[in-house]
Every structure is written in structure tokens, then in C-alpha cells.
Symmetry: C2
Subunit: 459 residues, 2 copies
């Protein structure tokens, strides 16, 4: 039975796919943040227009600039595998396919947008990219993408991740980035967070807020973001476009497409092209976003206008959120600790085009370890969420006695997360879930200022 | 300028290449170890004959069993890159190509032989594979290769590496292996080594001796080795066979082929097929084996009959060696701390067909870090030795004002070696070199018992 579906280098997609062209509804537009004393310039005007415009338009396909495509060709197309050994061990009639992004130079899908962004920003005269990173996948990707364009890179890394994953910081520094643990004393946001809680584990919201403030104060520096925004989701569709061709070679079409859900770029990358293809062939394919119990923005959050950063500097967007002041427990899947879901994914979820599920940390590592042993690939803790959901689909298929084609994104490898797996092997993985009260506390200010809140009562 | 040369999956080589068919001399045969009271069974009778025979014969090509080839297809052919950014930064007229084995499931070339060995051993009824590992690349590969064949895996890991690289142990355990720090109290060899020096950093020689003793005591268990032996070198030629096709696509033929030199399987893998091709086209290609200053078996060792393991259980082979009791300083490139060079590589070196060079640890990391920044790939410390030599070739080419085509093997990634790079970034890399007296001490007993020693005076 064929286990691997490679594509030739010359089949790297020429276009990204813009799902806005095919949605049967409008995604609510962002709203500028209310002006506030001493606030730095806001985010949107900072985006290169050549990058921003196509991401809010209705053109179905957006050409990938040739220099970006040339970079992609260094490792793309990434392989699609059929997990035949895992199927055997689960004794399931389901066919489990995974698209593996861990063969990229940065070890995850994040480099797909990092290279694209670096290209657009460098062309617009930017000399320094500044960002926040949770697990470090994004920071790594951006630090690698800046070097070829001669740009500096400064990364605010969430403290809990920086300490749990010392190798990540080293890797970014090795690629020439300056890495700052967040909350830091370098920004007002950071100093305020430290004053409120000197032991704060940090959050991606805080790290991004620090990066925004830091970039605003520096010449020809720009804040860049690794997920959530329309243009980031757009860049990641290269994953699904390849997977479409590969599933065609395999002669199957997925009944369910699964992706881990941080802010949504990985999930969008694998699922949007299949959303288009499923419409075209009137297939009833399901799309499943998987989040951690510890940060349940889709399964327990609400669809409200909120900021994408902790300090409320960014424009407000309508999204499924736990509130921008929500700080998730420091689980190993740092990349899934973000408080909100991308506006496009949120709108699709609200319209019933996308499903969501949440998993406990211990179950995620159990499934990640089983997958590693069977398939020889250690999933990043984030990616292991998709593995857990795929395994559940496989078990259900066995119970139903029905074939089912499952496709999931293995967004990155977990070679820099082995401390987390060591915890798992030693039986030390902890499950922590926010209480209703905690979620209500960070949601309340949003509900009170949101005109549609009546339709979305607090949990 | 084209930077990457992929091969399609259906071009995974069908045959390994046996260099013995093309050597203009005989490689001296091994000699059984002299019998000794209480010594466990010796190594050779333990090898599956179907694996062993072709590795000592004169057939030029050995067919790769289809099940092994199917496994190879999961990630092979590996990419060949041209390091255009590094060329630019070095301002060199040299063309630098590298064959990258780090995209394999285990992260290095070691899996090429691990899968082949697992296949042959499982077919001959073996249920448990036992081995020693230095840096952990080999142990990782073997632990991953055993699972598909339903075999157990036990790994004795050199203590200094086990402590410097805790992630390696986790990775092996995650793939189901039992990992034992060596010297251990589980074997007589280990207990004796600990009695002699409770703080012994261990060595690959000791770890292998422990594994041999341990395997000999267990039912249907076999000791397996990750480098040095003819069959291991044979399996690795899949690297060079692919690189030949890829260099053809690039339209160039190397003036020099470079590989890091532990016991020799990586060096043989990249260079043997080019040795054949260079003969065929009467090219004066050079073949350069690169070792660390801390373990200079080729540049400062001698060509003598010696054991491949620390305790002198294995048959004796004629090789460049520092003596099987030599224990190298615990440098980060644990995979290059082995005391001897593979008999075939040694014979080629002795006959002037191969060159050798040694590098200091600090220079190696300086070059490894420069390569990482330029090319976006962090080399394993072992592989960084080849990078250092390639950079020197590039600099020489600039000084000579002459084009030169350089091909080197980047045998693995360094993502599990970031502690070592952190040391480098912090300026803490230490250079240690054995004294002549140290080398003489471990060589003397061999010289005294070797009839040809007169031709090879002590240093």
C-alpha cells in the first residue's frame, strides 16, 4: 500500500487561495481601536499594501511572487503520507492521511508566511521585523526569513515557552535574531504586566503587544504577526493546494479535514482549499478545528468584537474569543494559547461551515507519542492536537464499521519539544482547564461594549 | 541560480555500491580475536549471512531489498542543495554543493543502514537489537527501525553524550527503546570501566563492548553496529548514488568530495560512488575525510591491527586507529569520538586514494553557525566538520582565483545539539587535543603485537 505521496518541485503552487471569494456571507470588517492617550500608531497602516489588499478582496487566487516561490522550492512541496502503521495499530477501516510541514527549514508551516511577509516588507523598505512568539515556531520562522533579505529581527518570546524550550531561543539567536523574554522591562506593556504579576508566564497577547509598542518606537521597524490575519491565512493555503493534488494522486477525497487551532493559520492552510474543492464537487466534507482544553476560544469563547493583542492597541475584529486579557495556563502547546480565532475561521464557525473540538493535554501527548512510535515522526505539541482528533475519527470509523477518509495537518515536528514528551513518558503531564468564572472575567468588558452581545450570553 | 536539486521518488537507487569491486588492492581481512577465558561469542557469526556476504564480495552492485527501498521512499531521495548564499558571503568562485541527510525521520544518515539491518536481522529471527551509541544519532535511528519489524531495542549511550543531549534519550525512549547510560553497572565491561574511573565520560568503544556483552547473554538478541563495518558503508552508498544523479542534473562534477569522519559510514556514503565515477571519467577528484582534533585517528593514528571495541572482544581489523582503549575528550561531536577508521577507508587512505584533515571544535562551531545563518539549516556538530573543510576549500579557491566544485555531505541536522551551539554563541567552546604521550599509551600494546609495525613508528 502506498504510504507517501510526493509532488515534484515544479508543482509548487503558483497561487495562494483566497477563501473570501467562495464564502456565502461577508466577514465583518475590522474596526479601528478607539483613540487613547499615548497609544502608538495602530497596526493596519503598517502593512505593505501589496500584501494587505489581496487578503481582503474577492479574487479567488493570488499569485505567489516568484522570489517567494523560489524560496518555497527549497523544501516544498512537502510530503503527504498515509499513516498505514497507525491505521493497523488502531485496527480501523479509516484511511488516515497527513500533510507534513515539519520538513521545512524552520520545522513548521510558519515559514510559509514568514518568507512571504519578509519579501513584502523588505520591498517596502523595512529594515527590522519585530514580533511576538508563543511556542517559538513563529519566531524561528521569522528569524530565518529575515536573513536573506538583510533585515534585522527582534522577537518577544512568551516567558513560559522561553523557559520550557531553551533550544528555541538558541535557534533564533543562531539565525541572527535578538530574543527578549516577555513580559519584559523593555516596553510599557511589559512593565505593567510584570507589576501586576512578577511571575506572569506571559501570553502571546502580551508578547505581541510588547512587539507592537517596540516596533512603533523604532525607525523602519514593523510589527509582523504569524497567524490570525487574513494575509497569513492566505499564505498558508499553499499547504492545502498541494494536499489537493496529492489526495488526487491517492485517488481519495477527505470526509473530514483536521487542523490544530491556534489563531487559525495552520487550520486555514490545510482546510480552505478543500472547502473550495468540496463545494465544487458537492461533497459533505467536514472541517474540524482542534484546540486545547486550556484555551477553548471556539468551544467555550464567544463571537464578539475584540482586540488581537493584550493591550488593546490593534483594531477590533469580530472573532471567537476568550477576551484579549485572558491568559491561558502554560501548556506545552504554546502555539495554541492565543485568546482568539482568526476572523475568517470565526465567521465560518459561526455559520456552521467549520466544527471545533477541544482536547486535554494528557490525551494530546498520549496520541502524539503513539503517532511518533507508529509513524516515526514526533509531532509538535500543537500538531498532536490534530493527531488526537484524527485518532478519534479512526476509532469512530471502527465502531461504525465504515470507511472514512481523514486528512490532517501535521504542522510541525516536536524535536524541540522533547522536554514535554519526557514529562509525558514520566507520567507528569498536567491537565488544567479554565473555570467559567475565569472566562467570564475576561469576556465581560467585551460583552458590555458589544451591540450584538445579546445573542451570545456569557457561559 | 538553481539552489536545489530534488530527485523524484521513483529514482531512489535500486542498488548499493560495493567499492571493493573497484579498489586496485586487497583490503586486509579481519582476524578473529584470540580466545580468552569467559569471553562471550564473537561478533561475525552473529551477522545475517545475506547481509554480510555481499559486503565482503567483489560484486559491484548489491540490490536493495524492496521492503527497505519502500522505507527509503518515505523520505528519499534526499535533496542536494547548492549553498549559494554561503558562496556569496564567502565571496568565492567555488561552487558549494551539499547533500542533506537531515530530512530523514531520524534526522541523519544513520537510518539508511538501521532500516537495512533491521530488515535482515528480523528476517533471520532476531527479536531484540542491542547497540552502543555516541552522539545518539545511531541509537535514534535503530530505535526507529526496530518498531516496524516488531523488534525490541536496547541502547547503551555514551555517558557524556547522554548528559549533554538529554533530548536524545527521550527521543529513543519515545520510539520504544530502552536507553542505558554507559559505562553502566549492567555489564562486566561497564563495571570495570566504572571501577577504573567512576567519572568516566564513556566512549563509543565502551558502549559497544557493553552492548556486545549484554546481547551475548540474551536469547535471540543481536549486537548491531552503526558504522565502520563493510556492510554499513555499503548501505550508506545510497547517499552518493543519489548525489551522482543530482550533480548530473546540476551539470557539474566535484573536484573534491568531503565528509565528516567518525568510523567512516557517512564519508563512505557520499564518496565511494564518486570514487567509481571519477575513475570512469578519469577525473582527479579528491576525497577528504574530516575528523576532530580531539580524536585524530587518521591524521595522528597508525595503520595497525586493532579491535573495534573497547574490551577487545571483536575480531581485529587493520585500520587507522588511536588504539581501542583510547578515550577522546567529550567534545560535542560525539559521533566522531570513535578510536578507529573503517578498514576500507583506512586501506584507501593508506594507498593515497583518500585525504584526511582535522579541525578544532571552536572552528567547527564557528563554521556551523555561519552555515546555519546563511543556509537556514543547523548542521549536526559532526556534519559541521565537513562544513568547516568546505569553507576552507572555498577560501582557497578565492585565493587561487580558481573555480572549484565542492561537494560535501551534511549528514544530519543539529536541532538536538543546540546546547552546543548555545555554548558557542556564549563563547564557551573549548578546544582539547590529546598529547603524543596519550596516543602512544593506547597504541603501544598494538604496535608491540603487530608484525608490520616497523613501517609505522609511533608518533
Amino acid at each position: 500500500m502506498r504510504q507517501v505521496f510526493h509532488l515534484e518541485t515544479d508543482r509548487v503552487p503558483t497561487h495562494w487561495y483566497n477563501v473570501l471569494a467562495d464564502l456565502p456571507f461577508e466577514v465583518p470588517p475590522p474596526r479601528p481601536a478607539p483613540p487613547r492617550e499615548g497609544r502608538p500608531r495602530t497596526l493596519n497602516p503598517q502593512l505593505p499594501l501589496s500584501m494587505y489588499r489581496p487578503s481582503i478582496g474577492r479574487s479567488r487566487f493570488v499569485e505567489i511572487p516568484e522570489p517567494v516561490r523560489e524560496e518555497y522550492r527549497r523544501w516544498r512541496p512537502t510530503p503527504l503520507y498515509r499513516a498505514t502503521r497507525l491505521e493497523r495499530e488502531l485496527d480501523t477501516p479509516a484511511h488516515l492521511y497527513f500533510k507534513y510541514e515539519g520538513t521545512s527549514p524552520s520545522g513548521s508551516h510558519k515559514i510559509n508566511t514568514a518568507l512571504a511577509q519578509a519579501y513584502y516588507y523588505a520591498r517596502s523598505g523595512v529594515k527590522e521585523m519585530v514580533t511576538g512568539t508563543g511556542a517559538g515556531q513563529w519566531g524561528t520562522a521569522l528569524s530565518m526569513a529575515c536573513h536573506p533579505y538583510g533585515m534585522e529581527c527582534t522577537v518577544f518570546m512568551v516567558r513560559s515557552s522561553h523557559r520550557q524550550k531553551p533550544y528555541r531561543g538558541t535557534l533564533m539567536r543562531l539565525h541572527g535574531a535578538r530574543v527578549i523574554e516577555s513580559p519584559s522591562t523593555e516596553t510599557e506593556v511589559g512593565r505593567a504586566a510584570l507589576a501586576a504579576d512578577p511571575d506572569s508566564p506571559g501570553s502571546l497577547g502580551i508578547a505581541n503587544a510588547e512587539a507592537i509598542e517596540y516596533a512603533a518606537r523604532r525607525d523602519r521597524a514593523r510589527f509582523s504577526i504569524g497567524s490570525g490575519e487574513n494575509h497569513v491565512l492566505l499564505h498558508q493555503t499553499v499547504i492545502g493546494e498541494e494536499a489537493l493534488l496529492q489526495m488526487e494522486t491517492a485517488g481519495e477525497f477527505p470526509d473530514v479535514v483536521i487542523g490544530a487551532m491556534g489563531a487559525g493559520s495552520n487550520f486555514a492552510g490545510i482546510s480552505f482549499p478543500f472547502y473550495r474543492a468540496a463545494r465544487e464537487r458537492s461533497a459533505s466534507t467536514r472541517f474540524l478545528a482542534v484546540e486545547p482544553d486550556a484555551c477553548p476560544k471556539m468551544t467555550r469563547g464567544r463571537y464578539l468584537m475584540d482586540h488581537t493583542d493584550y493591550s488593546g492597541v490593534t483594531p477590533m475584529v469580530r472573532m471567537y474569543t476568550l477576551g484579549h486579557t485572558f491568559t491561558a495556563y502554560h501548556i506545552h502547546a504554546g502555539g495554541l494559547r492565543y485568546h482568539g480565532a482568526a476572523p475568517i475561521v470565526s465567521a465560518m464557525y459561526d455559520n456552521g461551515l467549520v466544527e471545533a473540538a477541544s482536547y486535554s493535554q494528557s490525551r494530546v501527548f498520549e496520541c502524539g507519542a503513539a503517532f511518533a512510535r507508529a509513524e516515526g515522526v514526533v509531532p509538535a505539541p500543537e500538531s498532536a492536537h490534530a493527531v488526537a482528533a484524527a485518532i478519534d475519527e479512526a476509532v469512530k470509523a471502527r465502531e461504525d464499521g465504515a470507511e472514512r477518509v481523514v486528512l490532517f495537518s501535521l504542522s510541525g515536528h516536536g524535536l524541540l519539544d522533547l522536554t514535554a514528551y519526557e514529562s509525558h513518558l514520566a507520567g507528569n503531564t498536567v491537565d488544567v482547564v479554565p473555570t467559567d468564572e475565569q472566562i467570564q472575567a475576561s469576556l465581560r468588558p467585551l460583552v458590555e461594549s458589544d451591540e450584538t452581545a445579546g445573542a451570545h450570553p456569557l457561559p
